[in-house]
Symmetry: C2
Subunit: 645 residues, 2 copies
């Protein structure tokens, strides 16, 4: 159910979902309402008048009973439950004059969903680890072939299965299981990637257990590890959970982890830490899904090359040393218990292959999930994080690279930076006259800091209103106490301490903006460099797919305004979510994809930015908001001119 919300005097409407908070509706519509508490209802500044329709809630001690009767409500506490018309109180004449040049509406990317039914319909829903039920002939004097031969011959003759092998661990239990099930058994088979590869029988159970076949997908992120339980019968996600990668205490980024791994026992420690994290997640999602560990037949894991090598206990030292060589890009299937994962001995682990030291399995998983390798339009795939991975191409070719963006997008290197957890400022608007802010926080809690998507919107809005210039420096002449110099550093006060959870003013500083500019510059110049290497231009890009932790809430126009994303119609941007996790999920569900993966890895051309001379030039040019070359951003150029006229 959606409702229409009309804002007056701006005369701007927006469609919102049932129970959406009114302040978020305003932010969505690009309507500024002063609000300092992040939507927690304590600052009392977001008073609005409901002129038509009804909202739920919206009452607080900041409203007199008289105001309440007139129809005033606190926007942050009001939930939309019908079509409404809302009037925003105007603070000054100047505000009125600028009513018609309100900021761009908020545009988040469409979320891309994977369609299991489509896989099933295309006959591709054959998991890499499959269960087959067999009703064998009983052993008799006339037919007393060995138990293993009985199974393999039956699979060959009755199921058309060939090139079958069975390891010692399975052979050890065959005779007992076959008789426990009275010659009715279910075998678990791991399919090969190559058509001419071997099918390995990795488990055998008595009777028919086909309806108990589960998989786990795990995205092994540098910062966060996510896991899902999948039902391989239905393709459904049964449970999901994320935890911080407990390697974090040994280094924030991959380089510091590699350095730690080079110390005595460092590799062993990091290996154990990530395995502990994975085991913790497995424990939770298994319990939530109400399944047994022994029913998990497969686990697919994806991570960047360093995370992959640490997970597998492979010395990652050469990843960070010129010429940046990973140990391997493909790994054979193995038993999950071999690396300490707390699953049954028969559970098979599949590791996503990568391309190079800095384009790992996580990005390949995302590429597979996004379908770029099947696309006909020229597509830009960006996984934004501390290490940003970029792929450009379509079904015929793909190029990829990785840029070290630094931690600014994940809240690092920013004075009040934080991850997108409760109290993080995730959205922002600024009154172009008073320079008073409007903020929204994750969970509508009092502010604690600023998350990545918040930083992007902050920078964009400060730029649009002229609070900062294209180099990220504050306009020191503006008449507001919020722009100030503390300890020799210029900053803008977003929330005064009384409205924070931290008893300090939350500000954004010039060094913060500098870090952000360098991060977005690294990404954008990586895109330009790739395009130049393949002889294309930025406006050849027909489609953008965003992946990564912070991509879901980022305002696309803001991201374009600061020059993080190339300028493109926002409808052409889709958001994949955790591409790595999604890729793992699809991998668990269809073996056809694993074959495609091998093709994709082979067709992907990797560029090392460090050894591509044009990169540094592109990088220097990208250290502006949005860019030194404004022709790359005609829409932003036009808006900036209009807003500042």
């Amino acid at each position: 159910m959606t409702y229409s919300v009309k804002f007056l005097p701006h005369n701007v409407s927006v469609e919102v979902d049932d129970n959406e908070s009114l302040i978020r509706a305003a932010m969505e519509a690009g309507i500024h309402i002063n609000a300092s508490c992040g939507g927690s209802g304590v600052c009392g500044k977001c008073r609005v008048l409901i002129e038509e329709g009804n909202v739920e809630g919206g009452i607080s001690e900041h409203l007199s009973s008289e105001d309440r009767e007139k129809g005033y409500r606190m926007a942050c506490l009001s939930e939309v439950i019908s079509d409404i018309v809302v009037r925003i109180p105007i603070e000054s004449e100047m505000d009125t004059s600028r009513l018609n040049i309100h900021a761009a509406s908020r545009h988040t990317a469409k979320v891309m969903y994977s369609n299991i039914d489509e896989l099933r319909h295309d006959g591709l829903f054959i998991p890499p680890v499959e269960k087959i039920y067999l009703e064998l002939d009983s052993a008799t004097t006339e037919n007393n072939q060995a138990d293993v031969a009985r199974i393999i011959n039956h699979l060959r003759l009755k199921h058309g299965e060939h090139r079958l092998i069975m390891g010692l661990e399975v052979i050890r239990k065959v005779s007992d299981i076959i008789r426990e099930g009275d010659f009715k058994i279910t075998v678990t088979i791991v399919r090969p990637v190559r058509e001419d590869g071997q099918n390995e029988i990795v488990n055998i159970e008595p009777f028919d257990t086909r309806n108990r076949n589960f998989a786990i997908a795990v995205d092994v992120g540098t910062t966060t590890v996510y896991g899902q339980v999948l039902d391989l019968q239905t393709g459904k996600v049964l449970s999901e959970h994320g935890e911080f990668n407990s390697q974090i205490s040994y280094g924030e980024d991959v380089i510091s982890r590699i350095i730690f791994a080079e110390k005595d026992d460092g590799l062993e420690i990091l290996h154990q830490k990530v395995v502990e994290t994975i085991n913790k997640i497995i424990e939770k999602i298994i319990k939530k899904a109400k399944i047994g560990k022994r029913e998990v037949t497969t686990i697919t894991l994806a991570g960047n090359s360093t995370m992959t090598q640490l997970l597998l206990k492979i010395n990652p030292s050469y990843i960070r040393r010129d010429p940046y060589v990973p140990a391997s890009i493909m790994y054979p299937p193995f038993h999950a218990s071999q690396i300490g994962i707390d699953l049954a001995n028969h559970t098979i682990a599949l590791i996503y292959p990568g391309v190079s030291s800095y384009v790992g399995g996580d990005i390949i998983a995302g590429v597979m999930a996004s379908g770029i390798y099947r696309a006909s339009e020229l597509t830009l795939y960006m996984d934004i994080g501390t290490n940003a991975e970029i792929v450009i191409g379509h079904k015929d070719w793909m190029v990829c690279t990785a840029a070290s963006a630094g931690p600014a997008f994940e809240g690092g290197g920013v004075k009040f930076g934080m991850r997108a957890t409760n109290g993080a400022i995730e959205d922002f608007s600024i009154n172009p006259v008073t320079y008073e802010p409007m903020i929204l926080t994750v969970g509508n809690k009092k502010a604690k800091g600023i998350c990545g998507s918040g930083m992007i919107t902050l920078a964009a809005k400060l730029l649009e209103t002229g609070v900062i210039n294209s180099r990220g420096k504050f306009n020191q002449t503006l008449d507001t106490p919020r722009i100030r110099k503390t300890d020799d550093i210029w900053e803008y006060v977003i929330v005064y301490k009384e409205n924070t959870q931290i008893d300090r003013d939350i500000t954004i500083t010039e060094p913060d903006l500098d870090n952000l500019i360098r991060a977005k510059g690294a990404m954008y110049s990586a895109v330009l460099t790739l395009l130049k290497e393949i002889g294309l231009k930025v406006n050849d890009i027909e489609k953008i797919i965003l992946a990564g932790g912070f991509g879901s809430y980022v305002d696309l126009e803001s991201a374009i305004t600061i020059g993080l994303l190339p300028e493109i119609e926002t409808e052409k941007v889709t958001y994949l979510g955790n591409g790595s996790l999604l890729g793992c999920k699809i991998n668990c569900l269809t073996n056809a994809l694993r074959r495609d993966v091998a093709k994709v890895v082979n067709m992907m051309t990797n560029f090392e930015l460090a050894s591509t001379p044009s990169y540094m030039d592109h990088y220097m040019g990208a250290l502006f908001l949005p860019h030194t070359e404004l022709n790359y951003f005609p829409r932003v150029k036009e808006r900036l001119e209009r807003l500042r006229k």
Copy 2:
């Protein structure tokens, strides 16, 4: 150097090796000399006169100085060092009259050698586990492919190697090793059995280590385990050692071991015991060969189906239960350390495939070693032991079966039975007039008991001289104190206690003979049953190959006389030695053989005697010496008639 020894008054000559003992030369020639002490020089009965030529030694206190001067010597203490003429003192007139009907000369089987140079010449000397030396291109910015990809691509492009896989354990060390060797490395590859199988890289070492590639061959016998170290560069055996299988304390034969394995922890205990035995052997042969454990790339093991399953810790229970089903007949290659064998992690274990519960890997190894699967003549292969395995066939087809002979051939179920160790009576002759014995023992020590080959000769000679009849019963009318009844059991005294090590008379009893008859009957009737099933007759057999522990010294004519072997010219019998060990050795040396093994296993038709109705009839007929049907043994029939006339 060989010498001619002529015996008078028999006028029989024999060729013997330098330093052969004179008493063994006599036994070889079929000349009887009374001798009770086994050749240890204590009974003083074997006085002979050297008429021409010289011997070394031969002097004892049993000879007066006068006798010595005349040229008398003790035969058992004399070594032949020139051509000689020897006169045997005749004890009675009756002896003289029978001089010309002395027993048949001793015939042992020709030993079959495997020829490594022939393998090399045929291009077959490619071990299943091979080392390949690679000089890789160094990693550069232009060529910074992953380390594993670098190796695999190099093998593909420069060595024509395809379908390569590498397990996680190897991938873990690739990056360090490759740099330790400055991009010069040696990879160890396990070849597949099938042409279209995968080549697994199981180890990687810095620099060129091709000249350090060793294998171990192990015959896992129910009673004894033998191991050899092989140099895979030269094909030479560097060291060898045997130990009793320490499972013995849990049961003498496979059935009692299976019953023990069915108890709590029984399987685990038996598994550990045989692995301990193997590890003890490995320790010794590695040391003797002066090689390092890490230099052993492969170990091939063969055993009967029960030994194989106990070694691999697979419940053997169904092997002994109708319809006698083994867990598997083929096993994949695995890491030796997986079953507790004390070798490096990279050492690959290959297990000889079998055919059925009672025709196991040991017999297939023997078949491979014997070359029967390449023969054009119809060949009978017999591995004689507690469990006797029999194969009949040639290059186009083979049939096999196993007979439970009981332990008589290995010294079990016989009152004074023992294994063929020092003091075991291994050869025997009897004076046809006085019924006094001539015995030879292993190591020329005072007698302790009778070994398998000794039993066969004893039975044959007693039969030839009429001491026993064709049912193995003593002729109670003969005039000799050696035939007597003790505790209601008839027996023949072979050695009086004063000449033994055990202070008891060593005898052979009617129950002993009964056990022997049943054992040889089981084997012979198994041969007849197989022949009948394939529509052939016993005289169609063109060649016999004997394998097994006791086969090396057995007197072929005696074995034919008692009806253990079909009657055939003794030159057509060859002795393979430990066929199982030899098969393991060849398996370590040439992968071509492993492909043949798969073919052999498939072309071999197995008969279960228990479910072959004609077996019982054949068995009943074979419970005679040599057989109820004397036409099967025309030569024996003729000899018996001649000797007893």
